[in-house]
């Protein structure tokens, strides 16, 4: 695998290091001189200095080959959008992953077809919700391309689904239960799985059907 990593901050440098350890061929691009010089000691010829939104810098890094994947991991969201677009539109790079620094910009990435994305703030917030739930339905993972999401709900004593088998639930169309976590053990949910109070249930569904799912599993 050949990967170009744009942005040599903590995220980019660690990703480049991990990819190299996996045996991938990597070119890391960093614009700032101080950072570049530090990176050069470790990455030697595998790091190049320049603005990764400039075509000639990307070309020097081998984007015309093209690489199997471009990782746009700079600290600037506009740069990450443009790097991903240049890679795909101009050079036919098959895959690009972009970092979202400010979660308020997520909508721009989605609108412009820059996908998949990774946002540390959103991931941390999802974990916070998982650890200290404020809501009865927790979003664990969004599969944007597939238009699916994975959520977690906890079954209570007075939930309508408590004491029912999965096959007896009128789940919304396009929704499935994946697994049931009980007493620290997870089991794949099948038709005969009985839901009990205290169960943590993972479900996969189309975004927008959360309320229907909530009604079936949680509310009378």
């Amino acid at each position: 695998m050949y990967a170009i990593v744009a942005g040599g901050g903590k995220v980019g440098a660690n990703v480049a290091r991990s990819l190299l350890r996996l045996g991938a061929e990597v070119t890391l691009i960093e614009e700032r001189r101080d950072r570049f010089e530090r990176l050069e000691e470790e990455f030697e010829h595998q790091v190049q200095r320049g603005d990764a939104t400039e075509l000639h810098v990307l070309e020097r890094a081998g984007i015309a080959r093209p690489p199997d994947i471009v990782l746009a991991l700079t600290g600037d969201d506009e740069d990450n959008v443009v790097i991903s677009q240049i890679a795909k539109e101009r050079y036919g790079v098959p895959k690009a992953i972009a970092r979202v620094n400010d979660p308020r910009n997520q909508g721009h990435f989605d609108l412009l077809g820059v996908s998949p994305t990774i946002c540390a703030t959103s991931s941390i917030m999802a974990l916070v919700e998982h650890e200290v739930p404020e809501h009865d339905l927790i979003h664990l993972l969004e599969l944007r391309k597939e238009n699916l999401e994975i959520v977690e709900v906890q079954i209570d004593r007075d939930s309508p689904s408590a004491g029912k088998r999965v096959e007896g639930l009128a789940l919304p169309e396009g929704a499935r239960l994946i697994s049931v976590m009980r007493d620290g053990k997870a089991e794949i949910a099948v038709g005969s799985t009985m839901l009990e109070p205290g169960d943590q249930v993972l479900a996969i569904l189309e975004p927008g059907k959360e309320d229907e799912l909530r009604k079936v599993l949680l509310k009378h």
Partner: protein, 148 residues
């Protein structure tokens, strides 16, 4: 109210953005200007009749407040090429504005995004052409080459 009944939104009020704003306003447009820095308002003179909002062009709420939904033309001219490219696409694709003009200083990116359907304007390219032409216009005597 402008005499034309047309709304322009200018994002980025530097030397370029402010001059475009003033020009369009003189021509009868209703002009709204957005800039991150409130001091940029001084570039519009003492009696700016239009709206001026402090905020970033990536902020959809600011764009809405600035009336992007009713804009007939959007000019994106901040000092960041990539910001302009992204904000320009948001104006085109999210808000459906047909007339979006985007300043891109880097000729390579200006060409690329023009080929993808964006009205990019590259002052660098214009400057290169104009300056080259000005050198040619000097009509200097061509020196004899030495045959050393």
């Amino acid at each position: 109210m402008g005499t034309l009944g047309l709304n322009a939104l200018i994002i980025g009020c530097g030397r370029v953005g402010s001059s475009i704003a003033l020009q369009l306003q003189r021509e009868g447009w209703d002009v709204t200007v957005v800039d991150e820095n409130e001091d940029a308002l001084t570039r519009l003179g003492d009696h700016w009749p239009g709206l001026f909002l402090v905020g970033h062009g990536m902020d959809v709420e600011i764009l809405r407040e600035a009336g992007i939904e009713d804009a007939d033309a959007v000019v994106v001219a901040t000092n960041g090429d990539n910001t302009n490219i992204v904000v320009g696409q948001v104006a085109q694709k999210r808000f459906g504005i047909d007339c979006v003009v985007v300043r891109v200083l880097d000729p390579a990116r200006a060409d690329l995004y023009a080929s993808l359907g964006m009205r990019t304007v590259c002052p660098t390219k214009t400057a290169i052409d104009t300056l080259t032409e000005a050198v040619r216009a000097c009509e200097l005597p061509i020196p004899q080459r030495s045959t050393a």
